[in-house]
């Protein structure tokens, strides 16, 4: 209903500004994918495949200082048989000389690192295609942005939006189903208004961000009740710092957070701090060809250790991206995540390239290694999968 009113608001503004010069455009993408899981799950009847179709449609208009954008994502998948319609972006944005006011649904990115962004907390996630495939949901917001000389200050009011979990037993999943009804405790309420603040900018070769968030967590506890997992949201406060130093071919990055009132893995409230630090380096013109190879190494830490609610509590990440710089924009990416507590690992590989002018295709591979020993990811120990996808952009 909220999204309907935003669309109506857009149309009202357009009609009232009809005498001014209107610029508009529309564009989008259709993606078909098929994921095949290579191992059965013992003891239950989960399908070993997931086929999905995603359509993304964008409509943008500009009249003088007013911009409106509508981005609709429609997803249909089997065996989930769930049709998702998400207004990822549905906003009006008014520009003043050094400020911006935005009302509506939007997606925001906070952070500097590549594998994990602990400071990135504004948007909830849609896990309907599997717990390893969370995608950001549009967050309803009132956002004021003030541009300073080499920085920007953002203030947000953020109504609470819960994560979306799979309804049936779609892989990757927990052993138990996740209930669609949420519970709220420790100061959280379904109607909570969150507050976000971010000051970001650059000084010479240094980029920085200082962030603050108070509102419902985006990482609810999953409590067992009547043979189901029930999401339980608490109200958290988080302070974050993001930094990047660019030095020649090296990019040094880090994100640091301090969060209070978050449920940990045991379902207890536990204040904590965490960080991720790392370096990215690129080699150019590999083997005297046009190939560029970027190497990324990052380390993440959570002060709660094995009681962390996420799996990046003491982990080393390595990634390598090979870009061929050909006319098809072909690239390969391989990554290794290594949990230093238990020595568990997971490997990913992806390939993508363009064919013809408007089509793209690729393969993603996920290979877990000895995850049965992992506190957080043991449910995914048999989730080896290969995903083939193709997309058409219009």
């Amino acid at each position: 209903m909220t999204n309907f009113f935003f669309i109506l608001l857009c149309l009202l503004f357009i009609s009232s500004y009809s005498k001014a010069e209107l610029y508009s455009e529309h564009y989008g993408e259709i993606e078909l994918s098929s994921t095949i899981f290579l191992m059965d799950i013992e003891g239950d009847n989960r399908k070993n495949f997931l086929n999905s179709t995603k359509v993304e449609y964008n409509y943008l208009f500009e009249i003088d200082n007013l911009t409106g954008k509508l981005k609709i994502n429609v997803k249909e998948s089997y065996p989930e048989s769930r049709q998702n319609l998400d207004f990822n972006e549905a906003y009006l944005d008014y520009s003043l000389e050094n400020s911006n006011i935005l009302i509506g649904n939007n997606i925001v990115f906070w952070g500097k690192n590549e594998f994990f962004n602990p400071v990135d907390i504004v948007n909830s996630k849609d896990f309907s295609l599997g717990l390893a495939s969370g995608e950001k949901i549009g967050q309803t917001m009132f956002n004021i942005k003030r541009y300073l000389s080499s920085s920007e200050l953002d203030f947000y009011i953020l109504p609470s939006i819960a994560n979306i979990y799979p309804k049936s037993q779609v892989r990757s999943q927990q052993t138990l189903n996740i209930k669609s009804e949420n519970t709220y405790s420790e100061g959280a309420k379904k109607e909570n208004l969150g507050i976000g603040l971010r000051w970001s900018g650059y000084i010479d070769e240094y980029d920085y961000g200082l962030t603050f968030y108070k509102g419902n967590t985006k990482d609810p506890a999953l409590n067992i009740s009547s043979n189901q997992l029930v999401p339980n949201y608490s109200e958290i406060t988080q302070i974050g710092i993001e930094l990047q130093a660019t030095q020649g071919d090296f990019l040094h990055k880090g994100e640091f957070i301090n969060r209070s009132n978050q449920y940990n893995l045991d379902g207890n409230i536990d204040d904590y701090y965490g960080f991720i630090v790392g370096t990215e380096h690129t080699l150019y013109g590999l083997f005297e060809k046009n190939w560029d190879l970027s190497n990324i190494i990052e380390y993440s830490y959570d002060s709660r250790g094995s009681k962390s609610h996420h799996s990046n509590q003491n982990d080393l990440f390595y990634g390598a991206r090979l870009v061929l710089n050909d006319i098809d924009d072909t690239q390969y990416f391989i990554s290794l995540q290594n949990d230093l507590d238990k020595g568990t690992r997971a490997i990913t590989f992806s390939y993508e390239s363009r064919f013809y002018s408007h089509f793209k295709g690729g393969i993603d591979l996920y290979v877990p290694l000895n995850l049965e020993k992992d506190y957080h990811q043991s449910s995914f120990k048999d989730e080896n999968n290969i995903k083939i996808f193709s997309s058409y952009a219009f």
């Binding site: 564009y27 993408e29 943008l60 500009e62 911009t67 954008k69 520009s95 050094n98 911006n100 997606i107 925001v108 990115f109 952070g111 541009y147 080499s150 920085s151 920007e152 970001s200 900018g201 650059y202 070769e205 980029d207 990047q244 660019t246 020649g248 071919d249 090296f250 990019l251 690129t282 150019y284 013109g285 046009n290 560029d292 710089n325 050909d326 006319i327 098809d328 924009d329 363009r354 002018s357 408007h358 793209k360 997309s391 952009a393 219009f394």
Partner: protein
């Protein structure tokens, strides 16, 4: 007496010609500086570019983009620019912001990734890297700053790309050791001081690429811009052509529009 006066006059003439004659280096630098100076005062510009990439088999790929440039009046700083891609459609909105710096300082660059709504600072130290897989490197696309090169005037001949014009031929040797070239040979037409052709020699000294500027148009009665740039890699047979359309100048762009915080907005 008469002989003495004639002798003294000859000596004085010879001395004056020695004092005021330009060396080939000075002449080369002077012409480049004059060519660059003719472009001063454009304030800002926007243009639509269409880039056609061809591999040696003749397969083509098209990139389209908008290019915004803000003229930096401070001589210790370079111009600022934003490139916003519009085609192929899957990269629509991807944008590159560049704050050019004077050598030896690397440019500052940020990349906007619309799928993630993320602005990411990137390394710009690799000047030899190819711009979106084209035959133009980042070095090729940056503005010539006189301080970055040693110039040597070679001769005056017919311009290779347009025989009806006369060109100064100037050799430019980069001072930056990270340059991808040992030298560039620049052909500048004598009357309007416009770049007509540039020949790029790689680090081994071999002729690697040739860039021709075609279909010059004059804007605001002062600023020459070529509608077509043709870059050919003479070693691989690949080529990239850029066609510029809809040039606009003094469009009230602000220096604040060229901050990374505004990149997502400029990319719309």
């Amino acid at each position: 007496m008469k002989k003495i006066i004639i002798t003294l006059t000859s000596i004085l003439t010879l001395l004056c010609s020695q004092v005021f004659a330009q060396s080939a280096e000075e002449k080369g630098l002077d012409i480049i500086e004059k060519s660059i100076a003719l472009d001063n005062g454009f304030v800002d510009s926007t243009v639509v570019g269409k880039m056609i990439l061809k591999d040696k088999s003749g397969n083509e790929s098209i990139r389209s983009f908008k290019n915004f440039i803000f003229e930096e009046l401070d001589e210790t700083l370079g111009d600022k620019s934003i490139i916003v891609f519009t085609e192929p459609r899957d990269v629509k909105g991807t944008s590159l912001l560049t704050h050019a710096n004077i050598e030896p300082k690397d440019d500052d660059q940020w990349l906007y990734l619309p799928a993630l709504k993320r602005v990411k600072r990137i390394s710009s130290s690799n000047r030899t890297g190819k711009f979106v897989s084209s035959e133009f490197s980042y070095e090729d696309l940056s503005t010539d700053e006189p301080e970055d090169y040693n110039f040597l005037w070679l001769e005056e001949i017919n311009c290779p790309a347009d025989q009806s014009l006369q060109c100064h031929v100037i050799e430019a040797t980069p001072k930056n050791k990270k340059s991808g070239y040992s030298k560039r040979v620049i052909y500048i037409d004598v009357f309007e001081l416009r770049y007509q052709t540039v020949k790029f020699h790689n680090r081994r000294g071999d002729l690697e690429k040739e860039l021709n500027f075609k279909s010059y148009q004059k804007y605001l009665d002062k600023f020459w811009r070529a509608d077509i740039l043709e870059m050919k890699n003479l070693q691989t047979g690949k080529s990239t052509n850029i066609t510029w359309e809809n040039y606009e100048f003094q469009t009230n762009l602000s220096i604040n529009d060229f901050n990374p915080e505004k990149l997502a907005k400029m990319a719309r």
